[in-house]
Symmetry: C2
Subunit: 322 residues, 2 copies
Amino acid sequence: MTQLPSRVHILEEGPREGFQIEKGPISTARKIELIDALSHTGLTHIQIVSFVDPRRVPGMADAEEVVRGIAPAPGVTYTGLWLNERGFERAIATGVLDIRGTIVVGASDAFLKRNQNRDMAEQIASQRTLVQRYRELGYPVTRGGVMAAFGCNYEGDVAVSRVVSLVGEILAIANENEIKLEYVSLADTMAWATPLSIKRVVGALQDAYPDLPLSLHLHDTRGLGIANAYAGLEMGVARYDAAVAGLGGCPFAGHAGAAGNVCTEDLVFMCEEMGVDTGIDLEALIACAKLAEDIVGHPLPGAVMRGGALSKLRAAAASGRR
Amino acid sequence: MTQLPSRVHILEEGPREGFQIEKGPISTARKIELIDALSHTGLTHIQIVSFVDPRRVPGMADAEEVVRGIAPAPGVTYTGLWLNERGFERAIATGVLDIRGTIVVGASDAFLKRNQNRDMAEQIASQRTLVQRYRELGYPVTRGGVMAAFGCNYEGDVAVSRVVSLVGEILAIANENEIKLEYVSLADTMAWATPLSIKRVVGALQDAYPDLPLSLHLHDTRGLGIANAYAGLEMGVARYDAAVAGLGGCPFAGHAGAAGNVCTEDLVFMCEEMGVDTGIDLEALIACAKLAEDIVGHPLPGAVMRGGALSKLRAAAASGRR
């Protein structure tokens, strides 16, 4: 039987993934309420806001207020997302967030063309420039990322060899700058991955770059998120992005087709039940998932928050047998 | 990398699992509409009704009318579920359903005591009597089943050795009657399974009974249904029960905590994307899932019916590259 990792690290992205997509206005206070609750679950890294154009993403217009309002807990790293120089400057200006650079490439030419009007070479060149900028400002660059690593709505399947080659480009930029990346994240941006393709891509990268830790960012649009995470665990992947309650997407009325990251508490449940330590208090996290649902005001996709964890049932059964 | 089965068989239980649990009255005509639509998707076995006390399960009071109303399609087997002699007689009286016996045991003492007021020995004895009755009436006994094979809300974890022993009891009853079972089904009745426990239990049974095909009946209460099915595939299990759209449970408003079987079209999507043939037309099945949602009048848990299959995107991408 495959050996699963003894411990995994989960990056909680629910506040950022969720509040940027929700239609209804959500008060700054309630966003802060959720982040503060998440800060006491054992999570060690929470991505709480994105610094994007408030005209395009009104749900993130209060990003600075959110950052200022939280009560940072010891041992928890808070980060934000930015997509351009302006966003980067806003993130720095908060003075609270952990600022780290990422070298990001997309695996699909068609996706890059449509979204950034760049080809692959131009995108890689832009990352080279960006890394210089991070270094000049004294911020560390700690991770790489490959978007659409498992397939793309515009381009179709992505060859495993292309992902291997792109990770090579990321590592080359890192090496040129004497940076040792902590890990490279593979994003199933458009939910094309299956457990089998996770194994193929991860396996090929492990063969090519044996010392490079990998992370998985899995969207659940086609219901395979947790199965894909399991495939990652079987391959020894020990880092996952996830969103409490499945925030960031709701496949139900008014949110047709959208889907967020794999649900944090469902992932934690699976890991802990299989003996993979997450460091997270599942019951506290379930309480956060219920709070998230209350805040957004509609059902969210998480399952364990409804089905319940097993620890209480197990304890009751054990005491009944005594 | 693990070798997955080249082909799997899916038993569609949506009509039976779904219509027995829905609160709102659903017309007989609409039940028939769904079953007839499912009959033209490539599914070869559909469990369409249960013959239970209409005072306890009003949604199945029209079971005979449903059976009489469908337009049986060539190559499709239609079955019903019964839990006692009266139900068995009703199923026979339809003259349409495929009547086959199952030797069923529960893996949990506590569950048996609560639900049937029997201990394990009494339950096994009752199955021995039932098999005699099937044989007297000339009906084949083709499968075995273990309920709560992965854990129980009342008893907690179930030892792998107990499942191995219970399957041994099932096979003993079969052997005494010179019956060769087609397969034994393992039911995760209360959603305690993880991919790891699926592998442990299936592996132990394969070691003990190398020639015995297994089937999995997976509830999705805690979100691990598809991941558990993937673990089954990795172990070579080639039979699964599933419910179109995830009928039989809805974790959303008004249905708190309930959850049905793993969703058929999500399972078909995963299998086909991994090269595991299901014989099912995914687009036709997605249309059935949308029909099921229209019939029940509320959102159902299926993901692929919202996220969409990949075949059209893949074809469009390929034609764009030409």
